[in-house]
């Protein structure tokens, strides 16, 4: 009899164990699943500034709310207070007044509205007591795509008749571009000093000591200026830009914007240049120690580079592509030693670093990744330093009869004057790819490496060369860099001097795995690697690399 309660006890323990096993399993199985893209979901975690959050942040669907408010016949002021005639981006307040105030701002207003709506018998959000409905850690996170303001979009604004200049000027730049005037205590248009918003409006709001104001974050500035303007236009029934989150930050919307940009560009033909007094051409040169020069010191530096600013403007989406901090000239911050403002990135690095798209070489390299170029320029393999003759392409050799490009003289020159110096050099540049005379290019090359298995392979040599040349037509960048005879040949005939009659492949590539040159491929691999590698990079479907008998080889006749 005594055994009974003990057995019961053991049974209960067993059941408990079994239940916990399944609970643990259930816990493990619960993984957050990927949800559809929600550009309007904002994480509300303002309270985090006042200590550890008691409950998870709230995932707030903004568009859903603005639609509901609109439907209810109210406007933005239902949730956003006005300050100096402008809506505050914060919810039901102008300033965060501490943890308690914040908490009640959200709880009182959200829940009150939900309650009212529910009382009217309409679909409403979570009610008092349903904490986890808002503070839901498993709610889908919002995914907001960055909104890019390209030069075309800029033109669509600057060229719009609906956007008038506030000061009555011909140009409407002042409608958006501004500077804070300390004396007037407000923002004013500084004509000719416009830059992109991000130069001043950084990722986070920042107290500016000299101006004595807090400079809004880019996010605040963009929402304030773009969205509120769009809204006011909309109120005046003028066709305008997006006002909903998804309108800028959604995939669909961005595609639509891109399409509209394209249409606008087609309509105008060539995109008008921005009016910011930028040069058509300039000369990029190292900074010099003027005092030392005055004393007659000689300058040892790379030759200055004539730069076609106008062409590069057309090739880029935004000014920020190169001018990442300000619209000043590169050499202002990037000196030979680098400055604190440039984070000690030197001029050489700023122009040649491969890891960044902002440098000349880095940006040009991305062009080489295009299939038509990639056969020779296998992008990922670029670690070799460029050959000396490549340097001279940009760092112009002095040409008789043309003005000398002297760093010392350039350092005191105004940018408008540089144009006259640069233009002769730019117009003298050969911008078309060159090749040897047709007769000097062998038409066919017979490769007899695998004669024990296959008939000799026939390489359509001239056809290949001419195709490469054709690919470079109408391409200024390619034309400029391949304007010497023999440059194109080096795509295959590598590691030997440029020549009309380069050495045959077999003169370097013999048997594989030589002890002295273990990294050098044997002849078989050298051919296969070169041909297949190029075909693959250029995305040429045929011949299929593994189709030996129908591709390059034919089985040997017995």
């Amino acid at each position: 009899m005594k055994a009974r309660p003990l057995l019961k006890w053991a049974g209960i323990l067993c059941a408990f164990a079994a239940v916990s096993v399944f609970c643990i399993e259930a816990g493990g199985a619960n993984e957050t699943k990927g949800s559809a893209e929600r550009p309007d979901v904002i994480r509300i975690e303002t309270m985090a500034a006042y200590g550890k959050l008691e409950l998870p942040p709230v995932a707030f669907p903004h568009d859903k709310h603005s639609d509901a408010v609109k439907k209810a016949g109210k406007d933005c002021t239902a949730c956003h207070k006005e300050e100096n005639g402008k809506l505050s981006l914060k919810f039901m307040r102008v300033k965060d007044g501490g943890a308690a105030a914040l908490k009640s701002a959200y709880h009182d207003n959200c829940l009150a509205c939900h309650k009212q709506t529910a009382a009217k018998g309409q679909k409403a959000g979570p009610q008092d007591g349903e904490c986890r409905a808002c503070h839901n850690p498993k709610a889908p996170a919002g995914t907001q795509l960055d909104m890019g303001f390209t030069n075309v979009l800029h033109y669509r604004h600057s060229g719009s008749k609906d956007i008038a200049s506030p000061s009555g000027d011909k140009d409407n730049c002042g409608r958006c571009h501004h500077e804070y005037d300390k004396a007037a205590k407000k923002t004013l248009w500084a004509k000719g000093k416009e830059g992109t918003c991000r130069y001043c409006h950084l990722d986070a709001p920042k107290q500016d000591q000299t101006l004595g104001v807090e400079v809004k974050s880019f996010r605040q500035a963009a929402h304030n200026d773009c969205v509120l303007c769009h809204q006011s236009m909309e109120a005046k029934k003028i066709a305008s830009g997006p006002v909903r989150c998804a309108g800028c930050h959604g995939t669909e919307a961005q595609k639509a914007i891109k399409d509209n940009n394209k249409k606008a560009l087609e309509k105008v033909g060539e995109l008008p240049r921005m009016k910011r007094n930028q040069p058509d051409a300039a000369v990029i040169s190292v900074n010099v120690d003027k005092a030392a020069v005055a004393e007659g010191a000689k300058i040892y530096a790379m030759r200055p580079v004539p730069f076609d600013h106008k062409t590069h403007e057309q090739q880029n989406d935004t000014c920020r592509a190169c001018h990442h901090k300000s619209l000043d000239s590169c050499t202002k911050c990037h000196t030979t030693q680098g400055t604190k403002d440039s984070n000690f990135v030197t001029l050489e690095q700023a122009m040649h670093r491969m890891e960044t798209q902002r440098s000349c070489a880095g940006c040009h390299q991305t062009r080489q990744a295009e299939p038509k170029c990639a056969g020779c320029h296998k992008a990922s393999d670029k670690v070799k330093k460029p050959e000396p003759q490549t340097c001279a392409k940009c760092h112009a050799e002095p040409v008789a009869g043309m003005p000398a490009l002297d760093p010392a003289a350039l350092s005191t020159m105004k940018i408008e004057e540089e144009k006259t110096l640069a233009e002769p050099y730019l117009s003298a540049r050969k911008m078309e790819a060159q090749i040897y005379a047709q007769d000097d290019i062998p038409e066919k090359v017979m490769i007899k490496g695998l004669v024990d298995e296959y008939e000799p392979s026939e390489l359509p040599h001239r056809k290949i060369v001419m195709t490469l040349l054709k690919n470079m037509k109408d391409d200024k960048l390619a034309g400029f860099f391949h304007s010497d005879q023999g440059t194109v040949c080096r795509g295959c005939h590598h590691n030997s001097p440029v020549s009309k009659t380069p050495p045959s492949c077999a003169s370097c590539h013999a048997k594989p795995f030589s002890a002295k040159e273990p990294a050098r491929p044997g002849l078989k691999a050298a051919y296969h690697d070169q041909c297949m590698g190029c075909h693959k990079a250029m995305k040429l479907e045929k011949p299929v690399a593994t189709d030996c008998n129908n591709g390059c080889h034919k089985p040997r006749k017995k």
Binding site: A379, S380, D381, V383, P512, F513, A515, P518, A519, P521, G522, K524, A525, H528, D529, M532, K536, A545, T546, C548, N549
Partner: protein, 352 residues
Amino acid sequence: MRRRKFLALMGVAGAGLALGKTPAQAAGNVHFEGYPDAKAVLFDATRCIGCRKCEAACNKVNKLPAPAKPFDDLKVLDGERRTTAKAYTVVNRYQPAGAAAPVFRKLQCNHCQEPACASACFVRAFKKNPDGSVTYDASVCVGCRYCMMACPFNVPAYEYDEPLTPRVMKCTMCHPQIESGELTMPGCVGACPKEALVYGKRKDILKIAHARIEAFPGRYVDHVYGESEMGGTNWLYLSGVPFKEIGMREDLGVTSAPELTSGALAVVPMVAAVWPALLGGIWAISKRNGKVADEERKEAVKTAVAANQADNDAKLAKAKEQAEKDKKDSIEREVKKALEEAASAAKEEEGA
């Protein structure tokens, strides 16, 4: 009495536990780098085009039976394959997420620096040769397949359809053919049109592999697979996609197979050395305990009887009687029970 025995048992168990772990960690501060001139093969997945020429060459060089589908039939690549008794090497195709083109990977014996198969074999049928290859001797193999259990790369295959003379089959790095002068490099390496396979001294091969990573940082994952996996292998791999995307385990660790078992092997002599002495001691103690207890009991009874004989005679007699009766009852009960059980058993048996 019981408590004392329990404590003794616990002591033994404790000693056993202690023995089980300490030698395992004291495996000795020894380190081996392998044969100095061992050869290795480097497989570069960024070069492999999946033409199966290596498979064909391997088949030819090792005189393996012809496959069901010819080697130029690339449809075979649609399924993932492994090495078998009839194919020492196979090439598989993978489509890693985000990669533009499929990636190929060749499988064969990796010729571990410290082979698991050799460590696991209880007849020493596997041998690590000075040229880096790991070879197998069928003339002593019992066919227990522990080598296949041990191999972290799932390489050795077995002739399951051989009733009496099954062999374990795996790549030999063409050791016999190179030894005899028939080949200068493994068959697969010689056949590769792209030099996706490089043959040379392991030390040089490692240098080449690292040089390639350095020369083309964007092209390769910064790791030479096999440099340290399972203590290092003599078949090394480079890849442009994470190795696990091309069917290679990245969680094998760097501990070689012999090191994994050295701890357990170290305990073996300890058990033989410690157990007999310990057990003998326990036996002696328990024997003496038994004797002492017997004497004590006798002594106690004697004293009690002597002291109480006079005035307790009657009581004792009564108690004895009672005890007697109890004993009888219990025996009777037992016998009765036994009889009943026997009867019921017999009955059941009859019934059946």
